[in-house]
């Protein structure tokens, strides 16, 4: 069966160990979590988890069913085939050298990225976009001397309910 990436949006009660339950359920049954984002919603007792996983449709349906069994899970939504907006963010720290300052500035300006902190020895850039845009940015910056990055999981939002 065809394997593809799936984006699953999960509403949960904001209990201390809810993330452990979700990770444990998936890990224990042999499913992978590729990326993960968690935070509260506008209701403080409810959190939203967006995770990406890969597998056949049947596998992903099984994952959804297993999650749905958890007492603290309110709803599970596969956003893969519905209209939705996807974003990731990455923070990149570049070492500043005499040679790369202009090149970094050019790259940032050309792509409308944001320099959020700039020191004598380093510059930190914030980039948001979908997966392709982030991958592109990292490829573009790599030759300029990337010291460290932190990349978030994917967040996704449906266009309508």
């Amino acid at each position: 069966m065809e394997k593809k990436d799936h984006i699953i949006s999960i509403l949960v009660y904001n209990k201390p160990d809810v993330l452990a339950r979700i990770a444990g359920t998936l890990g224990g049954k042999g499913y992978n979590i590729d990326s993960l984002c968690v935070n509260t919603t506008t209701q403080k007792d409810i959190s939203k988890i967006v995770m990406t996983t890969s597998g056949s449709q049947a596998t992903v349906t099984r994952i959804e069913n297993q999650l749905q069994r958890l007492v603290d899970v309110i709803s599970v939504d596969d956003l893969t085939n519905v209209e939705s907006i996807h974003r990731e963010m990455v923070l990149v720290r570049l070492n500043r050298t005499a040679h790369n300052t202009q090149a970094v500035k050019d790259a940032v300006d050309a792509n409308k990225w944001k320099v959020i902190l700039s020191g004598d020895a380093f510059v930190i850039i914030e980039i948001t976009g979908d997966k392709t845009q982030i991958d592109f940015a990292l490829a573009r910056l790599e030759p300029l001397g990337v010291a460290d990055i932190t990349r978030t999981g994917l967040v996704a939002l449906k266009l309508e309910d």
Binding site: P16, D17, A20, R21, G24, T25, G28, A58, T61, R62, N65, Q66, Q68, R69, L70, V71, D72
Partner: protein, 567 residues
Amino acid sequence: MKLKGTEILLKALEEEKVDIIFGYPGGAVLDIYDQLYKSNFRHILVRHEQGAVHAADGYARATGRVGVCLVTSGPGATNTVTGIATANMDSIPLVVFTGQVPTGLIGNDAFQECDITGITRPCTKHNFLVRNIEELAMTIKEAFHIARSGRPGPVLVDLPKNVMAAQTDYDPANVKIRNHEAVYKPAPKKMANVLEMLERAQKPLIMTGGGVILGRAAEELTRLARRFRIPVTGTLMGLGSFPGSDPLWLGMLGMHGTYYANMAVSNCDLLLAVGVRFDDRVTGTIDTFAPNAKIVHIDIDPSSINKNVTVDLPIIGDTKAALSDLLRFLDEHHYEPDSAGRQAWLSEIAQWREKAPLTYCRNGEIIKPQFVIQTLHRLTGGDALITTEVGQNQMWTAQFFGFDRPNSFITSGGLGTMGFGLPAAIGVKCAFPDRQVVDIAGDGSIQMNIQELATAAQYNIAVKVVLLNNGYLGMVRQWQELFYEKRYSFTDMTYAPDFVKLAEAFGVAGLRATKPDEVEDLLRQGLAMDRPVLMDFRVSREECVYPMVHPGESISQMALGTREMIN
């Protein structure tokens, strides 16, 4: 009025109509036990915490109510894990209360501290750590609700010592919780599909499982089968959900199912699977399971659908509601099976039954374990509540004790827990003191929780242990005989206690039979005693459970046993 945590716990248990607790005290639950001392609660002191959980589990399986246990923190809590996992695999409603060190010490590696909610997360339906006294009443109420609602299961509630000593207001009327009940949406379109499938089918078969017993749907299932003359097979957990004495009953399917049940599954063209989860012991190789059949799967848990076997028509819902709907729909649409066609199908099955009935070689010199079970069935009129251990004793019981009623066969199906039967029987007998309760055991399994004989003796809980003693871990030995060229690696249990003397040492009556002609008298004697009894039957040592589907085979390929057995 302000109440202490320990008082709230007992009041909340009263609210849940709990009439018995199986437990074992310890440091972290001293305050709770002090409160118990001042109350009238019935508490059974087990001899090991695993026994407490199995006893509560047996109570739950026999009554359909939530079983309750209470143990201390640390090792008390970890000792419950096998019991909890057993209940979880078979969807049995339990609430297990564990003591915990004071909240201020959690995470400090305090004496008898362990992260029991972390440990049991994968083997409970849900669990709670009560962090403050205000949450206590709500948590207990929610725990019971979760345990029994939807697909039932065990729930663990961890109670830190300081929380139980704190005080708060308690009024049961003000305790509000979320609803976890599964919602059943009637689906007339699906019922129409079933009708259409039934009308097309020449060879329909019902497969009944534990979900029919848990869902209290045995009556509806029986009516469906009898009304439309559909033959019925069942999983281990489904035994008793359709009368074993009914001619439409084909016995269990799967690895040690009957030849005719497996042939019926392999040849049917419509399989109505109700409250089952298509375990690997049932299906054999998946791609040859019911190869000609359209499969209708009724189950309360959506995660069971298409998990192991891909089905044609899933119906998600409570088995009782779904079967009632189906019966009503079929009646309203005047469904009548084609009687000639149905007769032909039943005749085909009858031929398989004739070719390889469930049987064994009788022997005048050596006691056959199957003979003990058949004799027990005859002497109890099939009316006893039976628990088993795990292994050959369990399979022979499933094969030879024709269960007529639900909730009368109490066995660890999914997890296959040795040591389950004796404590489970104690729990069953506590619920039904006037019924005959028998643990059919093996000499390996019984030694795993034999300390519970002391519990039975202390409270005079008159369970009867029928020990099929072959001096081997019989089922493992059978596999070694068949698949490992008789290399009996560590399965010889000849070095064992004298079980009669051991029983007597515990204050339990001990009896022994070594010859077939002693079996009936010994059983009569043991069953008649108004006290716990262990009956040690020295059975043939290398008897195998047949028929058998070898691992990795299709269930249509059965090893039937010796030539004498077939004829």
